[in-house]
C-alpha cells in the first residue's frame, strides 16, 4: 500500500511529508522533486518509476500531491485516495494552496494519521472526520461520546451519525448534467454524451430510508414487471436509456442489481447521490456552424453561426480560436458582444440573452503576421461553447423520492422536496 505521502509547492519545497512504510527513505522526497517537479522535460505520466519506487501525483493549482510506494499496489485506489484527500482538505480549510497548507499543517498531519493507517485508506468521509478531528483534543469528551464516535467511524453506516434532528425536514435534488459534444465542421456528430450527477442536500431527522425513482427505461420496466398491478396502466413514453450509472456508497448496490431499486440512508447535508452517463437521444441545446477561409498568408475569414434548439432564454459564450500570429481582428456580430482576446488567442463572443429557437451569426476578419516559422503551424483548435440551460439534455427525470423514517413521527408527506435541472456545457466543441 501507500508508502508515503508528500505535498510540495510549485518550487518543489516540501510542505508535508508523511512516511508510512519503512521501505520509503527520505531520499524519495528529493527524488520526486528532482525527477518530476524540476524535470527538464515535462513529465508525461501521472505515474513515474524512479529507482524502483513508484510515484503517483496529482496537481492542484500550484500544489503537488504525491504518493509513493515500492509495492505493486492498487493504482486506481491511490488516485481515488489522492482526490479524496484534496476533497477532505478542501472541506476543512477551503482552497488548496500553499498558504492554507502551511497554516493547517498540524491539522493535515492529524488527518493523514486518520485517513491512512500503514498506507491503507481508512474512513475518509468528511462529515464523520469532522466529528472527532477538530484539533481540540478529546479529553473533555465523555465515554458515551467517544464510543459514539468510534462506532460511527467504523460503523456500517459510516456516513451518518445517529440522533440528527431538524425542525423542518427538507431535501434538495439538483440534477446537473454536463453536455459533451464533438462535431465535425460539416455538422456531423462525432461523439456526444451527457455525464450527469444527482446532487442531494438532505436535512432529515433520524435515520431515514430513502427510495429514489427515475425515468430510466430499465428501472421503470423492471419496476413495473415486479409490480404487476400497475402494469395495466398506460405505458408512459419519455423513458431514457442510461448507459451506466454509479452511486454514492450509501446506496445499496446489491438491491439495485437485483431489484433495480435505488434505496439508501443519506448522509447528512450535501453529497453526490448518483452519477450517470447517457449517449442516446441527447437533445443538443446548441449547434455551431463554422466557416473558416484562409485568404493568402496574411488574412483569414471566419464565419460562425450559433443556433439554439430549445425554448428558453440563456446566457452563452462562444470561443473561436485564432492563430498565434494574429495581428488584428475585426468582428461583426448581430447579437451580443464579441471581443478578440489576444492573451487567450481567441475571439470571445458573449450573448447575454440568447432566445430560444434562434440563430445568430458572427463574422470576423483576422489579419496575420507573415509566419516565418513554418513548423509552428496553426492546428485549428475546435470552437467551444459555454452555457447553462434549465433542463436536462438527456431527458433525465426524477419520478419520486420517498422518505421513510419509522422511528420518528414524520412521514414522506411532511418532507419538503425541491428538484432542479441544470444542463451545463462540458466539452462542447465543433471542429473548424
Amino acid at each position: 500500500m501507500i508508502g508515503g505521502l508528500f505535498v510540495y509547492n510549485h518550487k518543489g519545497e516540501v510542505l508535508i511529508s508523511r512516511v508510512y512504510r519503512d521501505d520509503i527513505g527520505r531520499n524519495a522526497v528529493d527524488a520526486f522533486r528532482v525527477n518530476v517537479i524540476h524535470a527538464r522535460q515535462q513529465v508525461r505520466s501521472p505515474v513515474n518509476m524512479i529507482a524502483r519506487t513508484s510515484f503517483f501525483h496529482v496537481k492542484r493549482s500550484n500544489i503537488w500531491l504525491c504518493a509513493v510506494s515500492k509495492k505493486n499496489l492498487n493504482a486506481a485506489l491511490v488516485f481515488q485516495f489522492l482526490y479524496k484527500m484534496l476533497e477532505v482538505m478542501g472541506s476543512y480549510f477551503g482552497k488548496i494552496n500553499e498558504e492554507n497548507i502551511k497554516n493547517n499543517f498540524v491539522l493535515i498531519y492529524e488527518l493523514l494519521d486518520e485517513l491512512l493507517d500503514y498506507g491503507y485508506p481508512q474512513n475518509t468521509d468528511t462529515g464523520v472526520l469532522k466529528t472527532f478531528i477538530t484539533q481540540q483534543g478529546v479529553k473533555s469528551q465523555t465515554k458515551e461520546e467517544t464510543t459514539k464516535i468510534t462506532n460511527q467511524v467504523t460503523g456500517q453506516i459510516a456516513w451518518r451519525r445517529e440522533g440528527i434532528k431538524y425542525r423542518r425536514n427538507e431535501l434538495f435534488l439538483d440534477v446537473v448534467e454536463s453536455v459533451n459534444l464533438l462535431m465535425s465542421p460539416q455538422g456531423q456528430v462525432l461523439s456526444a454524451h451527457v455525464s450527469g450527477r444527482v446532487l442531494m442536500k438532505s436535512y432529515l431527522s433520524g435515520m431515514p430510508e430513502c427510495k429514489f425513482g427515475i425515468n430510466d427505461k430499465v428501472i421503470v420496466e423492471s419496476r413495473r414487471a415486479a409490480d404487476s398491478s400497475s402494469a395495466a396502466g398506460a405505458t408512459k413514453s419519455g423513458h431514457i436509456a442510461i448507459d451506466d450509472c454509479q452511486f454514492h456508497q450509501c446506496v445499496k448496490l446489491s438491491k439495485f442489481d437485483t431489484e433495480h431499486a435505488i434505496s439508501f440512508i443519506p448522509p447528512d447535508g450535501e453529497f453526490e447521490l448518483m452519477r450517470y452517463r447517457n449517449t442516446k437521444d441527447i437533445s443538443l441545446p446548441f449547434r455551431v456552424i463554422p466557416l473558416v477561409r484562409e485568404i493568402g498568408r496574411t488574412k483569414m475569414e471566419v464565419k460562425v453561426v450559433v443556433k439554439s434548439n430549445f425554448k428558453a432564454v440563456t446566457k452563452v459564450e462562444v470561443r473561436i480560436p485564432t492563430p498565434l500570429n494574429t495581428s488584428g481582428v475585426q468582428v461583426i456580430c448581430m447579437k451580443g458582444k464579441a471581443r478578440y482576446k489576444a492573451s487567450d488567442n481567441a475571439i470571445v463572443w458573449k450573448i447575454k440573452r440568447m432566445g430560444g429557437m434562434k440563430e445568430w451569426q458572427l463574422s470576423a476578419e483576422i489579419d496575420l503576421l507573415n509566419a516565418t516559422d513554418k513548423a509552428k503551424k496553426w492546428t485549428r483548435p475546435p470552437i467551444s461553447m459555454n452555457f447553462e440551460v434549465p433542463f436536462a439534455a438527456s431527458g433525465f427525470k426524477v419520478r419520486y423520492l420517498k422518505v421513510f423514517e419509522s422511528k420518528l413521527n414524520y412521514s414522506d408527506h411532511d418532507v419538503i422536496k425541491w428538484v432542479r435541472y441544470i444542463g451545463k456545457s462540458g466539452l462542447y466543441e465543433t471542429r473548424c
Binding site: M1, E13, L15, R18, Y20, D22, R26, R52, K70, K71, N72, L73, N74, A75, A76, F79, Q80, Y83, Y92, N103, N104, F105, V106, L107, Y109, D113, D117, Y118, Y120, P121, Q122, N123, K130, Q136, G137, V138, K139, K143, T150, N151, V153, T154, G155, G163, I164, R168, L182, L190, D244, Q246, F247, Q249, L253, S254, F256, D257, G269, R275, R277, K374
Partner: protein, 994 residues
C-alpha cells in the same frame, strides 16, 4: 442559499458545538502556523530546547509544532529527542499526536532513547478513551526498534480483543506492521490466529482491515504453515462477499483484491461469485470498479465462453469501463492502461464503444496517447472510416509524440484493413505534402510496412517519397527509405545514384542505416548487375574493412561470399519472397497478458510489467510465490477430482505452484535480432524470417532446414557456415568454415522413430529438473530438463508443457556448437502437445557435434522449434554427465601420467565433510565413472587415487584425501586442461552430497 445555511445552523446541539469551534481554530491558525516554515536561524535548536522544557503548556505545544515543521522541510531535529519525548505525557491529544509523529521519524536513529517512551505507550494502550488506545497501538507499530517491539506484544493482544471496533481495526493493521518488522514473532505469538478471528468480526471495517493485513502478510509469509493458514477457503470468501455490502469504499477494494486471489473449485461457485461481485460495477469509486472487473475477468476464464451467462456478463462490463473515462484524468489513465489489457484479452467487450476513445483537444497527453493505442486495437473494416478521419485530425496537432503515433496508426490501419489501405496511403501522402519534418519521416517508416504488406500495389508513390530524401535525418526513416530504394531498385531509374549518395556518408550513419544500406546495395546489384558492380564493391569493402561493428562486418562477408560463389543462390536468398507482416502489433505475450489480467487496477497493469519486474523481493520470504495466472476452465461435470486439479493449476493464493526462485537460466536474446536482420526482412517480422530462409535454402539444396545456423552464429560473432566453404575474399574470416552442413543438417533426417524406452531405468543419481525455458519466454511453451547418464548413454530428459491456448506441434531441437561437441543422437520425437498438456521425453545425445569452446565451459545453447516460433535457451551440462566408462587405467600408467603433468597444474579443493568412509565414497563415485585406481592409508588418513576420462578424451587425475574423525574431504586435481577443474569439483560435490 441563505435559507439552507439557516437550516444548517439550527442543527442538533452536538454538531452546533463543533462547527463554530472548528471555524475558530482554522481562522486562528491562519495567522500563526505558516511562520514555522521560515528558514533556520542560528541558535534555533537551542531556543527550541528551552521552549520544549518550558513551564507553560501552550509554549511547549508551539515548540513541538515548530519541531514538526522543521522535520517536514528536512531539517535535522533529532537532537531534541529527549525534550520532545518529555512532552509525550501531556493530556492534550493534539500534542500527543505531534509527539508520536516525531517519535515515528526519529526512534530508529535513537533506539536507546526511544525506550523512554515505552511506558507511555503501554499506558496509553489501556487508556479509557478508545481514540487514545488506538492512537497508541497505531503508533507503536511504526516504531521499528527491536527493544520496543518486545513490549508491543501484550498490548497488541489486548487491543485485538478490545471492546471498541475502532481499536480492533487499528490493531488488525498493527499485526501487519509487526509482521514487517519481525515475521517470526508474529507467527510465534499467535497473532495470525487472532487476525483470522477478526474476519468474523461484527464490524465491517475491522473485517476489511483484517483482510488487508492478511493479504499483505501472506504475500511475504515466512513459513508454509503461515502461508497455509492464511489461505482463503470458499467459506471465508463467501463471508467476505457478504461483508462487501457494508464496507467503506476502501474496505471493498481490500476485499475484492483478496477475492481475486481465490480460485473457486466449481463452476457454480464461480458463477455465484460473479453474480455477487457485479453490483460493485456501479460503485462511484474507480478502484472498486476495477477490482470488481479483475475478479470477474478472472472467473470468466473458468466458464463456458458460449454460455448465456458469460455473454451477458461480458456485456455488463463495457458500460462501467467506459464510465471510468469521465473521471479525473489520472484515473482515466489507469483505466485506459487496463482497458488496453482487457481489449487484448476480450476484444468483444468494447467493440461497440469506439467513439469514447476519440481524443479530446484538452485531454492530457498521457490520456491522448493511451486512447490512440486502444483506438487502433478496436479498428475494423466496419469503423475504419471514422477512425481514419480522426487520425487525420490528430496528425495536425502540436504534440510531436502524439502526431508521430497518429501517423504510425494510419499505417497500422492500412495493414489491418485491406479495403482501407488505399485511403490510408493517400492520407499519408497528404501528410507528406505538409513537409513537416517529423511527419514526413514517420510517414515514410509506415509506408515501408505498407509496401511489405501489399507488394506491387502502391509503388506509384515512390516518386513522392524520393522528393523528401534530403529532409530525412532520423535513422529509422533513412533506413526505411533505403529499404524502399533497394526493394524497388528496378523501378527507380536513379536508384544507383541515390544509394551512392547515401554511401558517401556511410561512416557517419547509425548501424541500422548502414546494415540497410549494405543490403539495399546488394539487392540493387542482383537486380541490375551490369552497371552497379563498382557500387557493390565499394559497399562491401566499407562494411568489411572499415566498419567496427561486427554485425556489419559479418553481413558484409556473408554477402561477399554468397556473391562470389553462387550468385544464383544469392539471388534466391537476398531477394527471397518476404513473409507477411502481422496485422496486430505491440500485442502482449499471452502468458504475460494473463498474469496482468490478474493484476487489473494495480501498478503492474499500469506499467504492463509483471510485479516481479519492479517490486523488490522480500529478503526473508521463504515460501515461494507463484506468479498469478488465470484459472483454466473446469470440465462441465466438475466433480471432486476436477476441482482439485483446478485448485492446483489456478495459481491459488498462497499455494505456490510455480517454480520457486531457481537461478535463472540465461536465455539467448530473441531471434528478432539474430536471424531477422540477416536477410533484412523486417525489424518486426523476425518470427517468420526463419521460414523465409528455409524456403530459400530448401530450393537450393534439398537439404532439411537448418534451424540454428545463422541465428546462433551471428550471435557468437563468427561468420555463417556455408556448405561449400568458399575462399573468403579478404582472407580474414576463416575461423568457422566447413562444419555447418554435416553437423546440423541431419537433425531432421530420420523423422519418426520414437525415443520410447529410455525413460525410467534405475541407478545413480538423478538431478532435479530445472526450468530452462519459462513459459513467458517460450510463448506458452515451458521446458524443464536435466541431463542423465544410463550406462554409456548420455541423454537429455525434457519435460515440455504447453501453457498456450493452442496446440503446439512440429517440435524439433538443435544444439549450438559447444565445448564437448554434444549433439542430439536422434531427432526429437514429440507428438503434438494439446493446451495444458505436459509430456516428458528422453533425447539421447552423442558427442559427435561441432566443438567450440564456450564460456562458461559447460554452457549448452539449445534451440527448440515448434509451429509458433523458434526459442533459444542455454543450460549448463553437469560435468559428471561427461565422465566416460573408459576411465580405468593401470596403476603405473596413472603414476607416470601424474608425474607428466606439470605440478603447477595441480589444484586443491576442500569438499567439506561427509559421513561416508573411503570405500563408500569410492563406490558412489564409481557409479559416476570415477575410477579408483589405488587406495593408500597414511596415519589413518585415507587417500584415494582416481581417474576420470571425459567424452573428448581429456584425462583428469585426482587424489581424494579423507581425514578420519572430522571426515574432511580434500580433493587435488591434476590435468593438462585446468579449465575443467571447476566442473569436476562441482561433480564431486554433487555425487558426495547424493
Amino acid at each position: 442559499s441563505p435559507k439552507m445555511q439557516g437550516v444548517a445552523a439550527s442543527v442538533s446541539e452536538s454538531l452546533g458545538n463543533i462547527r463554530p469551534w472548528l471555524q475558530k481554530v482554522t481562522t486562528q491558525a491562519k495567522t500563526t502556523d505558516s511562520k514555522y516554515f521560515t528558514t533556520t536561524r542560528k541558535g534555533e535548536i537551542f531556543e527550541l530546547k528551552a521552549e520544549l522544557n518550558s513551564e507553560r503548556k501552550d509554549k511547549r505545544k508551539e515548540a513541538v509544532k515548530k519541531v514538526i515543521a522543521s522535520m517536514t522541510v528536512g531539517k535535522d531535529v533529532s537532537t531534541l529527542f529527549p525534550d520532545v519525548v518529555n512532552c509525550m505525557q501531556a493530556d492534550n491529544l493534539e500534542l500527543k499526536k505531534l509527539v508520536y509523529l516525531y517519535l515515528m521519524n526519529y526512534a530508529k536513529t535513537q533506539p536507546d532513547k526511544a525506550i523512554m517512551a515505552v511506558n507511555t505507550f503501554v499506558r496509553d494502550c489501556e487508556d479509557p478513551n478508545p481514540l487514545i488506545r488506538a492512537l497508541a497501538v497505531r503508533t507503536i507499530g511504526c516504531i521499528r526498534v527491536d527493544e520496543i517491539t518486545a513490549y508491543l506484544c501484550d498490548p497488541l493482544r489486548k487491543c485485538l480483543k478490545d471492546e471498541d471496533p475502532y481499536v480492533r481495526k487499528t490493531a488488525a493493521v498493527c499485526v501487519a506492521k509487526l509482521h514487517d518488522i519481525d515475521p517470526l514473532l508474529v507467527e510465534e505469538q499467535g497473532f495470525l490466529d487472532a487476525l483470522k478471528e477478526l474476519l468474523a468480526d461484527s464490524n465491517p471495517m475491522v473485517v476489511a482491515n483484517a483482510v488487508a493485513a492478511i493479504t499483505e502478510i501472506s504475500d511475504s509469509a515466512q513459513t508454509d504453515t503461515a502461508a497455509d493458514m492464511l489461505c482463503w477457503s470458499g467459506q471465508l470468501i463467501n463471508k467476505l462477499l457478504t461483508a462487501l455490502n457494508e464496507c467503506t469504499e476502501w474496505g471493498q477494494v481490500f476485499i475484492l483484491d483478496a477475492v481475486a486471489n481465490y480460485t473457486p473449485t466449481e463452476n457454480n461457485e464461480a458463477q455465484n461469485m460473479i453474480e455477487r461481485v457485479s453490483p460493485r460495477l456501479a460503485h462511484a469509486n474507480a478502484a472498486v470498479v476495477l477490482s470488481a472487473v479483475k475478479v470477474i475477468m478472472k472467473l470468466l476464464e473458468m466458464l463456458d465462453p458460449n454460455s448465456d451467462f458469460v455473454v451477458s456478463t461480458i456485456k455488463k462490463l463495457s458500460a462501467p469501463l467506459v464510465t471510468l473515462l469521465s473521471s479525473e484524468p489520472e484515473i482515466q489513465y489507469v483505466a485506459l492502461r487496463n482497458i488496453n489489457l482487457i481489449v487484448q484479452k476480450r476484444p468483444d467487450i468494447l467493440k461497440q464503444e469506439l467513439k469514447v476513445f476519440f481524443v479530446k483537444y484538452n485531454d492530457p497527453i498521457y490520456v491522448k496517447l493511451e486512447k490512440l493505442d486502444i483506438l487502433i486495437r478496436l479498428t475494423s473494416a466496419a469503423n475504419i472510416a471514422n477512425v481514419l478521419a480522426e487520425l487525420k485530425e490528430y496528425a495536425t496537432e502540436v504534440d510531436v509524440d502524439f502526431v508521430r503515433k497518429a501517423v504510425r496508426a494510419i499505417g497500422r490501419c492500412a495493414i489491418k484493413v485491406e479495403s482501407a489501405a488505399e485511403r490510408c496511403v493517400s492520407t499519408l501522402l497528404d501528410l507528406i505534402q505538409t513537409k513537416v519534418n517529423y511527419v514526413v519521416q514517420e510517414a515514410i517508416v509506415v509506408i515501408k510496412d505498407i509496401f511489405r504488406k501489399y507488394p506491387n500495389k502502391y509503388e506509384s508513390v515512390i516518386g513522392t517519397l524520393c522528393e523528401n530524401l534530403d529532409t530525412l535525418d532520423e535513422p529509422e526513416a533513412r533506413a526505411s527509405m533505403i529499404w524502399i530504394i533497394g526493394e524497388y531498385a528496378e523501378r527507380i531509374d536513379n536508384a544507383d545514384e541515390l544509394l551512392e549518395s547515401f554511401l558517401e556518408g556511410f561512416a557517419d550513419e547509425q548501424t541500422a542505416v548502414q546494415l540497410q544500406l549494405l543490403t539495399s546495395v546488394v539487392k540493387l546489384f542482383l537486380k541490375r548487375p551490369t552497371d552497379t558492380q563498382e557500387l557493390v564493391q565499394q559497399a562491401l569493402s566499407l562494411a568489411t574493412q572499415e566498419a567496427d561493428n561486427p554485425d556489419l562486418r559479418d553481413r558484409g562477408y556473408i554477402y561477399w561470399r554468397l556473391l562470389s560463389t553462387d550468385p544464383a543462390a544469392a539471388k534466391q536468398v537476398v531477394l527471397a519472397e518476404k513473409p507477411l507482416i502481422s496485422e496486430e502489433t505491440d500485442l502482449l505475450e499471452p502468458n504475460l497478458l494473463d498474469e496482468l489480467i490478474c493484476h487489473i487496477g494495480s501498478l503492474a497493469s499500469v506499467y504492463h510489467k509483471p510485479p516481479a519486474a519492479f517490486v523488490d523481493g522480500r529478503g526473508g520470504g521463504q515460501v515461494a510465490k507463484a506468479t498469478k495466472g488465470l484459472p483454466s476452465r473446469l470440465a462441465a461435470e466438475a466433480g471432486g477430482a476436477a476441482a482439485a486439479a483446478a485448485g492446483a493449476g489456478g495459481g491459488d493464493f498462497g499455494a505456490g505452484t510455480g517454480a520457486p526462485g531457481r537461478p535463472a537460466v540465461s536465455v539467448i536474446p530473441t531471434q528478432e535480432s539474430l536471424i531477422g536482420d540477416l536477410l533484412d526482412i523486417d525489424m518486426s517480422g523476425g518470427a517468420t524470417a526463419a521460414a523465409a530462409m528455409a524456403a530459400a535454402s530448401a530450393s537450393t539444396n534439398q537439404q532439411p532446414v537448418d534451424l540454428l545456423g545463422e541465428g546462433l552464429d551471428s550471435l557468437l560473432g563468427g561468420p555463417a557456415p556455408s556448405a561449400t566453404s568458399p575462399v573468403p575474399p579478404s582472407g580474414a574470416s576463416a575461423a568457422a568454415g566447413g562444419s555447418g552442413a554435416d553437423s546440423l543438417a541431419d537433425i531432421f533426417g530420420g523423422l519418426g522413430g520414437g525415443v520410447g524406452g529410455g525413460l525410467g531405468g534405475g541407478g545413480g543419481f538423478d538431478p532435479p529438473m530445472e526450468t530452462w525455458l519459462p513459459a513467458q519466454k517460450g510463448k506458452g511453451l515451458q521446458i524443464e530438463g536435466r541431463f542423465l547418464r544410463r550406462g554409456p548413454q548420455l541423454s537429455m530428459e525434457l519435460r515440455l508443457r504447453n501453457n498456450a491456448m493452442q496446440q503446439l506441434n512440429g517440435f524439433a531441437v538443435q544444439f549450438n556448437k559447444n565445448s564437448f561437441g554434444l549433439a542430439p543422437a536422434q531427432p526429437l520425437a514429440m507428438n503434438p502437445l494439446a493446451p495444458q498438456q505436459s509430456v516428458t521425453t528422453l533425447l539421447p545425445l552423442n558427442t559427435k557435434g561441432p566443438v567450440q569452446k564456450m564460456d562458461p565451459l559447460l554452457t549448452l545453447q539449445v534451440a527448440v522449434k515448434n509451429n509458433i516460433d523458434i526459442f533459444y535457451f542455454a543450460c549448463l551440462i553437469p560435468m559428471y554427465a561427461l565422465f566416460t566408462e573408459e576411465g580405468d587405467m593401470d596403476k603405473r600408467v596413472f603414476l607416470s601420467t601424474w608425474k607428466d603433468i606439470p605440478p603447477e597444474n595441480e589444484t586443491q579443493f576442500n569438499l567439506g565433510s561427509y559421513a561416508h568412509d573411503a570405500d563408500t565414497a569410492s563406490t558412489m563415485l564409481r557409479s559416476f565413472n570415477v575410477f579408483t585406481i589405488a587406495k593408500r592409508s597414511v596415519e589413518s588418513t585415507d587417500m584415494l587415487y582416481q581417474c576420470v576420462k571425459l567424452t573428448n578424451g581429456i584425462l583428469v587425475l585426482a587424489e581424494l584425501k579423507i581425514v578420519p574423525q572430522t571426515n574432511a574431504y580434500t580433493l587435488s586435481l591434476k590435468s593438462r586442461h585446468v579449465e575443467i577443474y571447476p566442473g569436476v569439483h562441482e561433480a564431486y560435490l554433487a555425487v558426495l552430497k547424493g
